[in-house]
């Protein structure tokens, strides 16, 4: 891709605040026009820093960022037409909701009628019509966040950056706002770079997700691929639940490898990051891919003992001791035909080799 193809382009960007630690390392990232890209990562992994560089409040220590084909370092922040929802909302506390929303329109000299129209539209988008005269201090945390979202969208920016815009909402409101935001994104066709450390949110909303850790992209792909096919053990452990086994490759051929565990048992696995016999590896298996009482000819089949049963409403989680590991988790949907899940019962567990991925050891 050349600089002009993608809408936002990070090219070899490094960032350090103190000259000692690189908070962002060699970042190369392209965002297409109209895309909803999520940056996902644990706290302190550099997500906010990347947004700040894009918005122009931090300068890259090295490298260049392009926005719509133009090197961004030449454009001051107030000319970038980037709407931003800050992690702490950053509503102007001395202005009413209306004044907060009219600020970006006023500086653009939009007429009064037009302003009213746009503000009405933006407020109804986040279902806050009628709150125009309130001060931010008179709003709940969730309402403030929604005002911040409305403010970032009201002036029709070409790019919207959102830094954990739903962090303060309760589960129900959060979910409905997720759909709302997704809907807004689709109807406006605006490009969104979204930051969260909630993996569920990332999976439901995004076109693509970039998983960050320690300033580096660990994996960049669409949600299903990210979940089903993590490329390293950080991603596998960060996204969704995961059963792991550590071992050493004893045999490798094509798309299968045999891994010998510490307990002496052997597992057939899908080699992702291992290449040679003798490589140390961590095997990752999603709980829902483990089958109870599987068919006879399944590749991996072991006997385990139930150690804990936890009721979760729609499903039941079972912790069992399997292959010398007492942290093996199983998820069983709660259908009417319940199995005999009792503490101390023994069960046969099995899985296909393609579902258990031999990843790097970290």
């Amino acid at each position: 891709m050349s600089e002009t193809d993608s809408f936002v382009k990070f090219k070899k960007v490094d960032k350090s605040y103190d000259g000692e630690i690189l908070v962002v390392k060699d970042l190369n990232l392209d965002v297409a026009q109209g895309e909803f890209l999520t940056l996902l990562g644990p706290s302190g992994s550099g997500k906010t820093t990347i947004l700040m560089m894009l918005a122009g409040f931090e300068t890259p220590t090295n490298g260049e960022i392009y926005l719509d084909g133009e090197a961004i370092s030449n454009i001051p922040p107030y000319k970038r037409r980037i709407g931003m929802v800050f992690q702490n909302y950053a509503l102007f506390p001395h202005m009413t909701v209306y004044e907060n929303l009219s600020f970006p329109l006023k500086v653009r000299k939009v007429s009064k009628d037009e302003t009213d129209k746009k503000i009405n539209k933006a407020l109804s988008m986040v279902s806050l019509t009628g709150f125009e005269t309130r001060m931010p201090g008179q709003l709940s945390g969730g309402q403030q966040q929604r005002v911040a979202v409305a403010r970032a969208l009201v002036f029709d920016p070409k790019l919207v950056l959102m830094d954990e815009p739903l962090g303060a909402l309760d589960k129900n409101l959060r979910e409905s706002m997720q759909y709302e935001l997704k809907h807004i994104h689709e109807s406006l066709g605006v490009t969104v770079v979204y930051v969260t450390h909630d993996q569920g949110e990332a999976l439901t909303m995004s076109n693509r997700i970039a998983v960050f850790n320690e300033g580096k992209i660990q994996q960049l792909s669409n949600p299903d691929k990210l979940y089903e096919e993590p490329v390293n053990s950080f991603v596998a452990e960060f996204i969704g639940e995961n059963n792991t086994f550590q071992g050493e490759v004893s045999e490798i051929s094509g798309n299968k490898c045999r891994v010998k565990l510490g307990s002496g048992d052997e597992i057939l696995a899908n080699p992702i990051s291992v290449k040679l016999k003798g490589d140390k590896t961590k095997i990752s298996l999603r709980p829902e891919r483990a089958l109870i009482n599987p068919e006879e000819k399944i590749e991996n089949k072991f006997k385990g003992k139930i150690e804990e049963v936890i009721y979760h409403g729609d499903h039941t989680r079972i912790r069992m001791n399997l292959l010398g590991k007492s942290q093996f988790i199983l998820k069983i949907p709660n259908s009417s035909a319940r199995m005999d899940l009792k503490l101390g019962n023994e069960m046969i567990i099995g899985w296909h080799s393609k579902d258990c991925r031999a990843l790097d050891l970290t």
């Binding site: 922040p77 709407g83 102007f92 506390p93 600020f103």
Partner: protein
């Protein structure tokens, strides 16, 4: 009917309202006991001096007490012609006692304030009185000096008859009550206090303005610089604050005098010729410079404490929404600092209005303030009631400023930290 509705009871069966009151009363007593030492201290150290100041300022019993019989006798006098023999006799007897008790000097000073020329005729009378014969005091006193036969002087004496007077307040604004009882301004060449009041206001205003202009960027830097620099800067602001006031004022004297360092630098850089070094001390310039420096922390600290609470992401939000740095500053940052500006300006202005030491030392004749005049009245002319009157006028002025501020900005908008 609402009044008939059942009263809410606590689980113990006592009406809720009553039990709430009981609990609150106990809390109130506790709170009162806690603040009572402070209240006591305030009454002793603040309120009682002000009340006594008020009395001193209108108290004119000094002369009345010295001449009790005279004023008693004067009650019948209509003030048109010379008073009768009884008044003269009463005056002779009062004055005699004063001379014996050696208090007559004070009377002559007091009366001379009232009318020029009183001092000399009282002195002369004191000398001549020893040889007076009994009876016919009117003749004898009038013979001492021709002014004793002038009804004006007796009228001046009668004017001192009331025990309480507001004349000191009039004097404080260059006015007085003339012989006809009308309030008029003193002649042009004797007006001094009005100029002094205006100058005090002017200096306090400009010192506040200079402090504001200097403190705003300093406070902003303090609030936004990284910790290690802002600590250093904070020490730079506070270090002078911890130094004695006298030392700081003295150092300004060393810097600003005609052979001082600042002037030396001016000459050295060729800004001024050696023989025309500018006068920077013992005038308004000195007062401005020294007071601005001394009062600067009182502006910096409230501003800093307010700016510290303004999240940097607000400015960023303003910019990302399309505001130029100036618009963002003016529409977002500045309005948020107004509580700090209010607190700082009010603090500096009120301190400046009553400032004493610095103008006394570096102000010279044209740079002194009303407090210097108050001190002068107390130390040199010993006119305590006039000093009290001016002190109270100053206090009233400050309260008015406070009131206006409250009306304009609202006192609950103030933030000191």
């Amino acid at each position: 009917m609402s009044s008939e509705t059942q009263k809410i009871l606590t689980t113990g069966g006592i009406p809720l309202e009553e039990s709430l009151k009981k609990v609150e009363k106990r809390n109130k007593i506790k709170a009162f006991l806690l603040v009572s030492p402070l209240l006591f201290f305030l009454i002793i150290a603040y309120i009682s001096p002000i009340v006594s100041l008020l009395f001193t300022s209108i108290d004119d019993r000094m002369v009345t007490n010295m001449l009790p019989k005279t004023f008693k006798a004067m009650k019948q006098w209509d003030g048109k012609d010379l008073p009768s023999e009884e008044v003269f006799e009463a005056f002779y007897q009062d004055y005699k006692i004063l001379i014996e008790e050696k208090r007559h000097g004070k009377l002559s000073t007091q009366m001379n304030y009232e009318k020029n020329g009183f001092k000399s005729i009282l002195k002369k009378l004191a000398r001549k009185m020893k040889k007076f014969e009994e009876g016919n005091y009117k003749e004898q006193i009038m013979a001492v000096h021709k002014r004793w036969a002038d009804v004006e002087y007796w009228r001046a004496l009668k004017r001192r008859a009331p025990t309480y007077t507001y004349s000191k307040y009039l004097k404080g604004v260059d006015m007085y009550e003339n012989e006809e009882g009308k309030i008029v301004e003193v002649p042009e060449e004797r007006r001094i206090y009005k100029i002094l009041w205006l100058r005090t206001l002017e200096i306090a205003f400009f010192v506040t303005l200079f402090c504001f202009l200097m403190a705003y960027p300093i406070a902003h830097l303090l609030a936004t610089l990284p910790m290690k620099y802002s600590n250093l800067l904070m020490i730079c602001v506070l270090l002078p604050f911890w130094t004695s006031l006298l030392v700081r004022t003295a150092s300004w004297m060393i810097l600003l005098q005609q052979q001082g360092i600042v002037n030396d630098v001016f000459v050295w850089t060729g800004l001024v010729a050696d023989d025309s070094r500018p006068e920077m001390m013992y005038n308004k310039t000195g007062t401005y410079v020294a007071m601005t420096q001394i009062l600067l922390p009182f502006m910096v600290l409230p501003l800093y404490s307010v700016m510290k609470t303004i999240s940097p992401s607000l400015m960023r939000a303003g910019k990302s929404l399309g505001g130029t740095p100036f618009i963002t500053f003016w529409k977002v940052y500045f309005p948020l600092t107004i509580p700090g500006i209010g607190a700082g300006c009010l603090l500096v202005f009120i301190i400046a209005v009553g400032y004493y030491i610095t103008p006394e030392l570096v102000g010279g004749a044209s740079g002194t303030l009303i407090s210097n005049q108050i001190a002068y009245q107390m130390k040199s002319t010993l006119d305590w009631s006039f000093a009290s009157a001016m002190g109270l006028m100053l206090l009233t002025g400050v309260l008015v400023v406070y009131w206006v501020y409250n009306k304009l900005v609202g006192i609950d908008n103030i933030k000191l930290g």
